[in-house]
């Protein structure tokens, strides 16, 4: 079966005055229909740039310099502007972090949905209305009719994010990239939306790339997990296994710094140091300066090691399996 989304060797660099920012520097991801992939990593690790690259939304001075993005087998890298536009929103959709900002404040929800529909299909106002109402119903909005006539500021944060999800679903895409869509929401609303998304994946078979830095969210939602650091995937595998028994020192560090995992009163372990600047990265493992296991061997970039059980890590000294 071809993967819904298959990303190979993706490199997206920003050619700034200060130098080349290698925001994404060799990312591989693969996801099947109806599955959820959690893409995790610290702030600045390149998660958003990865998501935007997949949709072909990188603007100058940025550019995809290498790699391939296949959507249901179709290569997206190198498509011309209009062909890329016809894929976006129809076969692959994206939602963003702040539901306050992602909807246009001066247009009614209905107007925005209508534009999203008509970007790809020439359809009558009646059909636009029916399909908009259906999409709003699918994401569990209680009063779709009122919602259609509302302006974004008249809706709560959770409702706005549901509207954004409904817009993403309008053309029944194969893949949705969700960039921290629940980070700005209350915990209770966050879990409602997570449940909703899980149900949608099961029912519609849409594949979901869920970008977050919150490991708790990943553990409750994702089937698979990919951990990103300084523009590269450093560990990937089935979510349960990776979270239960991380093999890359960075993943271990991330898990140790989650409050939920620690006993009350115990000091949280912090990963020492911070993510390096992505301009002029020195050769070798980018985590070297912060890693307790680092030695001379880490001064050349480690290859991805297959650890068996669908797991892999980019580390010369992976942690031992228990």
């Amino acid at each position: 079966m071809t993967a819904a989304l298959d990303v190979r060797g993706l490199k997206t660099h920003f050619f700034t005055r200060g130098g080349v920012v290698k925001a994404v520097d060799g990312v591989d991801l693969s996801i099947q229909r109806g599955r959820v992939l959690g893409l995790v990593g610290e702030s600045g690790s390149g998660k958003s740039v990865t998501g935007l690259s997949i949709l072909g939304l990188i603007d100058l001075p940025g550019r995809i310099v290498e790699g391939s993005v296949r959507l249901d087998g179709q290569e997206l890298v190198g498509l011309d502007r209009d062909a890329a536009r016809r894929v976006r929103g129809r076969k692959i959709a994206m939602i963003f972090q702040d539901p306050m900002m992602t909807l246009n404040p001066v247009l009614r929800v209905g107007t925005q949905m209508s534009m999203a529909l008509r970007a790809h299909e020439a359809i009558s106002s009646d059909t636009v209305r029916q399909r908009s109402l259906a999409a709003l119903g699918t994401v569990g909005l209680p009063a779709p009719e009122q919602c259609l006539a509302a302006y974004p500021h008249q809706l709560s944060g959770g409702m706005r994010q549901r509207v954004a999800i409904a817009i993403a679903l309008l053309h029944s895409p194969s893949v949705i990239v969700a960039d921290e869509p629940t980070t700005a929401l209350d915990v209770s609303i966050q879990s409602q939306i997570l449940q909703e998304m899980q149900r949608l994946c099961d029912q519609t078979g849409v594949a979901l790339v869920w970008i977050t830095h919150d490991l708790a969210v990943v553990s409750s939602l994702a089937h698979d997990i990919a951990v990103m650091y300084a523009g590269r995937i450093v560990e990937s595998g089935p979510a349960e296994d990776v979270l239960a028994e991380p093999r890359h020192p960075y993943t271990r560090g991330l898990l140790d710094s989650v409050p939920g995992e620690a006993k009350p009163g115990e000091k949280l372990a912090q990963i020492p140091g911070s993510i390096p600047a992505l301009i002029d990265l020195p050769p070798g493992c980018a985590f070297r300066a912060r890693c307790g296991r680092a030695d001379r061997a880490c001064e050349t970039m480690p290859e991805i090691v297959d650890l068996g059980g669908n797991r892999s890590a980019r580390c010369v000294h992976p942690l031992e399996a228990a």
Partner: protein, 323 residues
Amino acid sequence: MLGFLIQRLLQAAAVMVVISVLVFCGVFAIGNPIDVLISPDATQEIRLDTIRRYGFDQPLWRQYLNFANTLIHGDFGRSFVFNMPVLDLILSRLPATLELTLAAVIGATVLGVPLGMYAGYRPNAAGSRAIMGLSVLGFSVPTFWVGLLLIMFFAVELQWLPAGGRGDTVEVFGIQWSVLTWNGWSHLALPALTLSLFRMALMIRMARAGMREAMLSDYVRFARAQGLSDGKVIFGHVLKNISIPLVTIFGLELAATLAFAVVTETIFSWPGLGKLIIDSIQSLDRPVMVAYLMLVAFLFIMINFAVDVAYAALDPRVRSGHA
């Protein structure tokens, strides 16, 4: 909405009262109008009689009350110099200024906004650099100099357009308009162009800034992620957002141009309000000065009011009192 309107109207009335006091006292402080009203060799008797007749012997507050009382009845008094009702005098000059101002500000907007939007959409294109060069020019070159240059080139050298005056007019509703004749347009072109250059530069700046900011915003990113073409993103999503600040600038500029078209009107001998006020200051024609300043204040208030209404129409958050 009705509550909003009533509240604004009351505010406007209060502001007008304050302005009338300020204007009255301000004008009162300059010069002695008696010297304008009677010839220098008039007898002391005539002099005292005139002073009494105009009420100049009364205390300031009483003079103000008299003035306010006639004002409420729509009477601004008579011009000392022209010896005709001030209101008629001003209304006879207003259309010329209105015409010039509207032509300049609307022209500046219609040209400046699309140019600025393009410059914001493609900040690095050669065309955008040219547009920004034009806007720098518009900001830095003094208006009177542009006016003289245009006269020298188009009126003196090429003799394409007249150097001054208002040209043929057509009477509609008892008011003379030159925008209705071809000859009138040819007279309007140069002063309007002169007056619009700075405004256009400003519109370019504002539209470009708004466009650049909008193109980086999340809602544009989301719209593009839906597969909307750039044209639909700009005209469907961005335009309405950036027109909110542009409407403000439009209103402010309209009011400012109305009030301060003086220099341009003088250069092109345009028979508008600007020339009238300069003349009335020189001749200490108090009633004209007072009425002119009151009119300007009134226009400012009305334009601000229109801007607020436009705001509410464009921005739903203002309508429901959220923002």
